[in-house]
């Protein structure tokens, strides 16, 4: 009667192993000095890991469209939080107004 989507165990195990591999890569890369690129790799891997958890463990890939929309909405508001706050701190000291935030 209820038509729930059961995700195969194989997929869960594959996601888990991928998360482990990505964790190993991010730790290994952290010991190599790549300058600013370290941040890009580190955050890229973290975003990839989070996406895997959201899509498969949290079943967003399998639900109706409403859930992905709400989830994406949450991350969009997060970007608004980051974007507007940064636009303040980054522009301090421009045009001679205020003290720059960066040392």
């Amino acid at each position: 009667m209820s038509d729930i989507h059961v995700v195969p165990v194989k997929i869960y195990v594959a996601v888990f192993l991928t998360l482990m591999v990505l964790t190993a890569i991010t730790v290994a890369v952290a010991f190599v000095d790549l300058g600013a690129l370290n941040n890009v790799v580190m955050l890229g891997i973290a975003v990839a890991k989070a996406t895997l958890v959201v899509l498969f463990f949290m079943h967003v890939k399998y639900g109706t469209r409403l859930v992905p929309l709400v989830a994406a909405g949450g991350f969009f508001w997060l970007l608004i939080l980051f974007g507007f706050t940064l636009s303040d701190y980054l522009s301090r000291g421009w045009l001679g107004a205020g003290t720059p935030w960066m040392r």
Partner: protein, 221 residues
């Protein structure tokens, strides 16, 4: 008007699918609020690290990467056991459901025990912000204290979420052991799983941002 109505279907819903979707959607709305709550902490981290990357690298260098890594593996493993718990409920395997919930709880507890040892080591090394704070490199003492304030605020708030998760898990174990959940009705297990995975995601970002940014730090200039 008297159609067959499963006992687990609340009267305001037409179907079990609708009931499940409402529960999932409500949980996601709560999680969206949680994303923004932790977002404020990540925002503070971003600004202070941008302002003083050197002090953050120095502070990060004092963290125990092995313990951080072990906890990352433990937490991701607990997400797998949680996913398997939901899977067991969906496939009417009640014994497996209880076993996977217990496994998730043990892994969550292990995470907190390791966190406790990490915190006590920081206390002994005078790295807890406050009057006892003394950073090994005196030149950046006050600047490193900002890193450790954020370290304790972020990991502490995350650990608090783990504690809440473990309490909820214990609370769910009772109806699970009594066989209340099955393929028709397992919304509490599904929603708790969403919460647990969310807490895992927060750690997925905390681990690199706190533990990994100081791995090639060679002292303050």
């Amino acid at each position: 008007m008297s159609t067959a109505h499963p006992a687990v279907l609340h009267h305001q819903f037409d179907t079990l699918e609708q009931q499940k979707e409402s529960a999932t959607l409500g949980m996601w709305l709560f999680l969206v609020q949680e994303i923004l709550f932790f977002g404020g902490l990540f925002m503070a981290y971003m600004l202070y690290r941008w302002r003083d990357p050197q002090a953050f690298a120095a502070g990060s260098h004092e963290l125990d990467i092995t313990l951080g890594l072990v906890n990352t593996v433990i937490l991701i493993a607990s997400s797998l056991t949680m996913a398997m718990a939901v899977h067991s409920a969906q496939t009417d395997k009640n014994k497996a459901l209880v076993r996977y919930l217990v496994a998730t709880g043990i892994l969550g507890l292990a995470f907190l025990v390791i966190k406790y040892f990490e915190y006590s080591a920081k206390w002994e090394h005078h790295l807890v912000p406050g009057p006892n704070f003394h950073f090994p490199e005196l030149a950046i003492d006050g600047r490193a204290e900002i890193f450790f304030s954020l370290y304790f605020a972020m990991t502490g708030m995350h650990a608090l979420h783990m504690v809440v998760g473990l309490v909820l898990l214990g609370w769910l174990l009772v109806p699970a052991a009594r066989g209340r959940f099955n393929s028709q009705y397992h919304n509490p297990i599904e929603c708790f799983g969403l919460y647990w995975h969310f807490v895992d995601i927060v750690w997925i970002f905390l681990f690199p941002l706190l533990y990994l940014i100081g791995r090639h730090y060679h002292g303050a200039v």
